[in-house]
Structure formats: structure tokens, C-alpha cells
Point group: none
Chain length 529, copies 2
């Protein structure tokens, strides 16, 4: 049975990514979902460098882990002091983590020019630190920082640092491509050479500065590495760390490694989206395996072939990783795509049903007006429902007014929206101020609807795009507004077109809200039957 251990550093190296900042509660959520996913090691922080991390390790003691081991991260002892006098090491022990990750320098240049000590002292620092932690009952992973750069600069010294770690009692030595500048073939050759010299387990830690971190991780495994470090959705310093949500399925489905279990793999997409939510980053549509477009087909020829045999344009079945196949309804695509869209919602409707032609005509008409349905499955579903007759409006708009104003004597511009709606015979009038007219309108309609549908609160916009169509007509041109919304469980997109940016936004906004309310009803129905 081929085995590889997965090591997640979302909470440590991931936290170095631009715009990332975790609350204590965020961290607990992430730790729990990683444990649920059967991730072998969770690197939870650097207790010596950060008092908040120490606090977090204390909280972790109360959590019962089912699958994962918690690791604390820190440096080798400082030059020319005893391990007992190194506060960082004492903090690592005090964290209570079962596994300690110690990073040390493997590149001679980093020793002499950055930490400014001798090459011999650096070796002693590695040995002393690991020995001390082992004596205190810890399992030690040695992160050989800049290993590949070090190997290329001064091979023997780089190897010496690994051997020092091995002798001192480390369980694993992890070869780090800290700067992300090493090519896959170099990774393979160097890792293979190391494997011949080192008896303990070898790991790989790579960065994505050339867009090759996933491939580099796989290459290291093929050369003999048995631990892969990364972050679940690839966040991290600069271009990010190796993206585990791509590495895991590649190892399991392409190379047959025993990692996670099949049920875990089916939760891959859901978990990646959940972690993105907590990190407050957008999971890029093109993200391998877990992105919204990872199994989205647009070319007509591709769609025809997929209908005949999915493997013709899909390297794996999307269900294996909990993702979905999508056919992007675009100008290029024909009736069969639309039928598929209909059957997703109403499986019993056949291609000869009269509604199919009506829906096709309506979608074409809308496309002619400037709509684009790629990815806008929310709007497509509503068009289909309206024609099939499985739709009733959730509210009636009586009136809205938007006032944008730069008042006399002021240079500030402000926007206010006033709205009046009716639900089940009851009217609600309200107003909201916002950043611009669309934001004001968005706030006002939600405020009015929450009175009747409190579940609206769960939904929020995550993306808003404006595209001027036929921009040569300048401000008279039509605009297409695409809105992406989420309720934390599902993400959906809706689209609106008008000569007026406010009206186009309004159309997309209403579809987004109605789609959410329909899905809530569906979930309730499912729960009962």
C-alpha cells in the first residue's frame, strides 16, 4: 500500500498570504474541518513568535482529534546559546503540541549572510535543538529551509544539515523550495539523490512562484518523498504554497496513494469552498478539481463529445471530488446543452416537450439582448421555471427610487434608495444609504425582504461585475451585470442586462434572491421526504 502523509500549513504559512488574517474562531473551524478530512498533520502556528498562537494552542488541548496530529512550528535555537536558554524552544514545548516542526538553514549563504553565524554552529544548532525536543518526548519534523537552493549552491553542506537532523533523532526531513524557483525535473533529481543518502522519511514543501508547486510536490513524491506540505487552498506568502486540494486528488486518483478515504475525497470541493469562506478569499473559478469551472464545458464540440462519453473531455469524474459538471450556455452551444440544463431541474422533461423549444427561444432572445448565461445558472434556472410554470414571485415591487446627490456646499456624493414591496398582501416600505446607487438598492431590498424571509440574511454577494456591451455607444450602451452570491453552502450567479446599470443590477439582484429562496424550499422539502 503506497502511503503519503498530508501536512497542512494553512494556519501557519498560509497566514503569511496577502490579506489573510484569522480570528481564534476561524482557526478552530479550520482545524476541525481538516481533522474531518483526515489530514495527517495540522501545523497550527508558531507559539514562540506570536502570543496569539500560544493562546490558540491552549484552546487546542480541549479538542478531541479523530484523525489529525497538531504540530507547532519554530526555529532551531539561536546561535551560541544553550537550548535551555532559548525562549522559542521553551514555548514550543509549552504549546503541548505532539509534533514539533523545526526549521533550520540548509543554504550556506543563508547561514553566513542572513543569520550571520558559522556553518559549523548552524549544524550544532540543528543537532542540539532536535536532540532536546526528542528528549522531551516530541516527534520532530525538520524543515530544511531553502534546501534545493542550498543543494545547488553547496551540495555537501546541504546534505550535512539533513544528516545532522537524522542523527539527532528527527522523524522526517522536509526539503523546502522556499523561494519557489526550482524546476520539476531538478526537484525530482535532487530528491532522488537525497533519498539515497537519508534513511528516515523525506517530505516536500514547495511554493508557487513559478506556478509549479503542485507539480513539484508530485515529482518529489515520485522520487521518494512520503510527506507533502502545503495549504488546503494554496494560500501563502507571495504566490502561495503548494495547493493541497490539487495534490490530494492527483496522488490518490492518478498515483494510487492511500490518503484520506473515498468519502473524504468527495468532500474535497465542499471543504475547499468552506475554507475559502473562512479565509475570506475568492476560490478562483479555474481552480483545479474544486473550482466552479473545473468541469465546465463551453465548446459545442466538447459538449457533444461529453454527452457521448464524459472521459472524452474530463480526466476524472467530477463527483469523485464532489464537484459538478456544467455546460456553459453560450452562443456556441446548442439545444442539447439547454435540454441538460432543464433536466437538471426537471429530470422528466424529454427533448420533445414543447417547453424545450420555448426555453431555447427565450434564452436566445435574451442572448440577443446581450445576456450571457455562462456560469449564470441562477438566471437560467429562473428562466426555465418561469416557462415551465414552476415559479411564483416571492414579492411584488411597487416602487423604487434612487437619489444620488452632491448637495450644495458639499463635495461629498451620497446615494439613497427607497423601496416599497408587497408580500402576501402586506406592504413594506424602507430605505437605505449605500456606497453608490446599486449598493444602496441592494441594502434596501434585503432590509425589506428580511421582514418576510429571515433566511435572506444568510446570503450575500461575493462578486459584482459590470461589462459595457457595445462600448462605442458610450454611456448609452447596454451594460451586463453579473452577480455571484453565496449562503455558505452553495454559490450561484445571476445576470441582468439593461441600458441602465441600476436596472441591470436590479434584475440580477432579484434573480439572486429568488434563487436563494427556491433552494431553501427545496432543501426543506428534501429534509421531509
Amino acid at each position: 500500500m503506497k502511503q503519503v502523509k498530508i501536512f497542512d500549513s494553512t494556519l501557519r504559512d498560509g497566514a503569511q498570504g496577502q490579506g489573510i488574517s484569522f480570528s481564534l474562531e476561524d482557526k478552530i473551524k479550520i482545524v476541525k474541518v481538516l481533522d474531518e478530512m483526515n489530514i495527517n498533520y495540522i501545523e497550527a502556528g508558531n507559539p514562540g513568535s506570536n502570543p496569539k498562537d500560544m493562546e490558540f494552542f491552549k484552546r487546542l488541548k480541549d479538542i478531541q482529534f479523530k484523525n489529525s496530529k497538531v504540530a507547532a512550528f519554530g526555529s532551531t535555537r539561536r546561535p551560541n546559546i544553550n537550548v535551555e536558554d532559548d525562549k522559542n524552544l521553551q514555548d514550543l514545548l509549552a504549546s503541548g503540541a505532539e509534533v514539533i516542526v523545526v526549521f533550520g538553514k540548509s543554504w550556506d549563504f543563508q547561514v553566513t549572510d542572513i543569520i550571520k553565524t558559522s556553518l559549523d554552529e548552524n549544524i550544532n544548532m540543528i543537532k542540539d535543538t532536535i536532540k532536546y525536543l526528542c528528549e522531551n518526548g516530541k516527534k520532530v519534523i525538520f524543515d530544511a529551509e531553502h534546501f534545493y537552493d542550498g543543494y545547488k549552491a553547496r551540495k555537501n553542506y546541504a546534505l550535512e544539515t539533513l544528516k545532522a537532523a537524522e542523527e539527532a533523532g528527527a522523524d522526517v526531513v522536509v526539503l523546502c523550495d522556499t523561494n519557489g524557483g526550482t524546476l520539476p525535473k531538478e526537484i525530482y533529481d535532487i530528491t532522488k539523490a537525497v533519498k539515497e543518502q537519508i534513511a528516515i522519511e523525506i517530505g516536500i514543501h514547495s511554493h508557487d512562484d513559478m506556478g509549479m508547486a503542485v507539480a513539484n510536490s508530485i515529482m518529489a513524491v515520485e522520487a521518494g518523498a512520503t510527506q507533502v506540505q502545503g495549504t488546503f487552498i494554496g494560500i501563502g506568502e507571495r504566490c502561495g504554497n503548494a495547493n493541497l486540494s490539487a495534490i490530494i486528488p492527483a496522488l490518490k486518483l492518478k498515483l494510487g496513494y492511500e490518503i484520506l478515504n473515498n468519502r473524504n475525497l468527495e468532500n474535497l470541493t465542499k471543504t475547499a469552498r468552506y475554507i475559502s469562506e473562512i479565509c475570506n478569499v475568492t476560490l478562483v473559478d479555474q481552480k483545479p478539481f474544486v473550482g466552479n469551472s473545473a468541469f465546465a464545458h463551453k465548446g459545442g464540440m466538447h459538449i457533444d463529445a461529453i454527452t457521448k462519453a464524459p472521459k472524452s473531455y474530463e480526466h476524472i469524474a467530477p463527483e469523485l471530488v464532489g464537484n459538478k459538471r456544467r455546460f456553459l450556455v453560450s452562443e456556441v452551444s446548442g439545444k442539447s446543452t439547454i435540454l441538460q440544463e432543464i433536466q437538471k431541474i426537471f429530470p422528466n422533461i424529454s427533448k420533445d416537450d414543447t417547453s424545450v423549444k420555448k426555453i431555447t427561444d427565450r434564452l436566445k432572445e435574451l442572448e440577443y439582448e446581450g445576456y450571457q448565461f455562462e456560469g449564470a445558472e441562477g438566471t437560467i434556472e429562473l428562466v426555465i421555471r418561469k416557462i415551465i410554470g414552476k415559479y411564483k414571485p416571492f414579492f411584488q415591487l411597487n416602487h423604487f427610487k434612487i437619489i444620488g446627490e452632491q448637495p450644495y456646499g458639499s463635495e461629498e456624493f451620497s446615494s439613497t434608495a427607497v423601496i416599497n414591496i408587497t408580500v402576501d398582501g402586506k406592504s413594506e416600505m424602507t430605505a437605505a444609504e449605500g456606497e453608490g446607487p446599486v449598493n444602496a438598492l441592494d441594502k434596501a431590498i434585503r432590509k425589506a425582504l428580511e421582514v418576510f424571509y429571515p433566511e435572506i440574511k444568510q446570503a450575500r454577494l461575493v462578486d459584482y461585475k459590470v461589462r459595457v456591451l457595445d462600448s462605442e455607444s458610450a454611456t448609452e450602451a447596454k451594460v451586463r451585470v453579473l452577480i455571484e452570491s453565496t449562503d455558505g453552502i452553495e454559490t450561484w450567479s445571476t445576470v441582468g442586462v439593461s441600458r441602465d446599470v441600476i436596472q441591470a443590477s436590479w434584475i440580477a439582484l432579484v434573480d439572486s434572491i429568488e434563487y436563494k429562496l427556491i433552494k431553501d424550499i427545496e432543501r426543506k422539502v428534501k429534509a421531509y421526504f
Copy 2:
């Protein structure tokens, strides 16, 4: 001298990406910038499948290319017909493209189960098509679709398709990992094996379904491929095509290939951002080499080390690819570029003039707020004039109000703008209705100003673009509005940024009008002296 040819398919395979749709003008802009970048081949479309593409090829005949060759893409002839009777092939010839890319099946399963013909007939289709195109004076590139899957399924047949192409006269055979499911080591081994069997040039075409397309392209080159196909910013079907903006610097800086020239490489970041703008996609911050965060450092230890020696946490100098180091705070733009802009208007101002620093600081500040000055020469000139003191406002805005309304009992939405301005102590108040708030405001301000400056009538907007910055903040996000105007003599662009689309449009609109009035004065002055 190690050489690799770069082949860009942004306009063909890239157009298959979700949300991508190019106007004719967009395509022309992309072709020009790729030619400028010294890209060897530009695949411009599929003339047989799409009348719009054929139209575009006609337009391309008028363009003088400095560096690139234009390629047209199409299929091998259909089964069981003559090449002369195949409309697609006639369209390929009619396109006038110097290079023809023919794709054909290399995976036996695709032949028998998808296009449903015999394995022999497929070989004939490849041979006949390539021979016919060669006889008509074309350089032919054969895209062996699904080659790696085909090789793994039935090696001899896959090789036979390549040999058929070679015999028939193809210049290059391109091995395609169409489904993106092949691992880097497989790519390397298979490409190397093919290299031993095929005498003509070999290319690589990979997809990013496992996040390995960049690495796979590099592996193929290391195994002997001399053409790399991809899209400049990685757009394409599903997870996208191989991202050339990562492959180009890796080949040049890490492997020493002769591609582009150094000046081109310094334009890499600028070009990637420009193409993203045209595609209306957000260039992800983490994008290798060209992303906003590609050289952004957050960790304190990293920043300390970088200050001592950049190579400690940067695998290349960011300037080599025209990107910038950031310590996750400020923006820096080139002083010499700004000096050039200043000297265009005020040739006597030298680089030591105090205004140069002031202007640089102001432009940086605006960039930080989300402005982008590429092409917005109108706004740049006004910023410069305001700081140098060669500016006085043409009017004073006292007040404006915009009312967007869907009245009770109506489904029509209407927009009205009310404006009050003062020129030389005289006030003018007026109102206008328009297609949306921005159009209403545009009409109202022109109506008011025409009273004082009748020459305003000559000017009109020819382009209006809205770009949502940081679209994750949805309707609260900042928007950048770019306006292009003309008076029939000159064309100029201006830009405005705000959280409010109306205010952003207003800023750009005022700059546009003031620029026009300044140019009119200059022309009058020139006519007298």
C-alpha cells in the same frame, strides 16, 4: 542557442474560457500587443466554425506584423469525403493565414467512439488534409489531440497519427494533453520517447486541470519539445490552458532559452495586465511572475532578510519581468516615465524640478486608490497641469442630483439628472433624462456647459468602460470608469475611480470636458503664433 517557439491561443482556445467574449476591436488589440511582445505564433480563430472569426481574418490582412505569424485553426477533413469538398478546409485557405493548425485524433477511443470512423480512415484524414494544405503553400502545425491519453491507451496507433502528419508534410506535431490529466513525469517520458521516433519539430499543448500545465510544458521542453502552446494569461476551457506568462520567464530565466528579448520580458507584467483588462478578467494577485503579490512580502523575517539580500526570499529580481517588490504597503511607479509625460506638455521642465516629485507622488497616490493611467493621457495631463499651476477650472459645480425611479404602477425605469453650475459668475441650472444615471448626467452637464462653451458640441463619448476593482466586495467595491472621447480631430481617454459608479463617471467626464477645452485653447494659440 537553445530555441523554443511560443504559440499563443488566447483568441482561439482562450475564448473557450468561462465568461470570455471578444469584440472585433478586442481581438485587434490583443493581436497587436502579442506581436509587440515577439510571440512567434498567434492563433487567431477558427474561420470554418465561426463567421465572426472569418471576418476577423479579413481585418488581419491589413495589419503589418513585425514579429508574429498568424495561424488559423481547424479540423482534419470530415470522414469519407474529399478535401476539396470540405467546407472547413476551404475556409481555412480562404482565411489567408500563413500558418494552418490542423487538429486530429490521436486517441483510438476518440476515433471509434466520438467521431465514429475507422482507425484507418482517421489516418487518411490526417494525411489528406495536411498534404492538401501543404500543396496550397501553407505551413502546417498538426495538433495531435489527446495525444498522451492516446499513447497510454494504444501507443502504436498514437505514434502512427504523428507519423502520418510528418509524412504528409507537417512542420510541427504538437502533443496535446487535451484533458489536462497527465502527470509531469509521464509528459517527460512520453515526449522523450516520441522525440526518438519523429524527426520534425515537436510542440506541447497542455491544460491546467491538475494545476500542472506550466510544469508539464517545461517538462516537455526538457524532453525535446521546441514549441509551447498556451494562452498569455492562462484562460481557456475548464481550468484553462498553460499560462504563457509563467512559462516564458521560466524558459528564459531558468533554462536559458532564446525567446522574446530582454525588453519584451520587462513588458511581461504590463502585457499580462493589459490582456486581462481586455478579457475583463481579474488577474489573480498570486499569479506567478505577473501578479500583484508575486513579489509581495509579509512575514517580518522575510522582509528583514530581503533587505539584507533580495535573493534570500526572491527566486528572481522582479524587474526582470516588469513586476515590483512590495512590502505589502505602497505602490511605486517609474519616475522616468512620469518625466516623459511631463515633458510632452512642458518640455522645459527638467528631472530636478520640484514639481516632478510632487506629480510622481500624486500619481502614486491615485494609483494606490485604484487609478490606472495606461492610455488615460487626458487625466494624466490634467494631474500634471494642476500641480504645475497651468490649470484653471472651466466651471464650478454647485450641485447635482440624480433620480432613478420605477414609479408606482409602472415597470419602466427612468433616470433624470439635475445640475447647477457657475461659469464666470453666471449660474446655469438644467436637467436631462437619459438611459441610466450616467447617461442622464452626461447629457445634463453638456447642456449646461454649451451655454458658455459652444465648442463642447463637437465632442462626444466613443467608449465607456466600467471595471469593478476588488470585485469580492461586490456592490461596495470600488469601480474604475474609463471614458474615451473624440472631437473628430483628436481622441483622448480619461479615468475616474470611486466606490460609486456615478461619481467615478463624473470624475472621468469632467476631465474629458476640461481636456477638450484646453486643447481648443492650445489650437487657437497655435493658429495665432
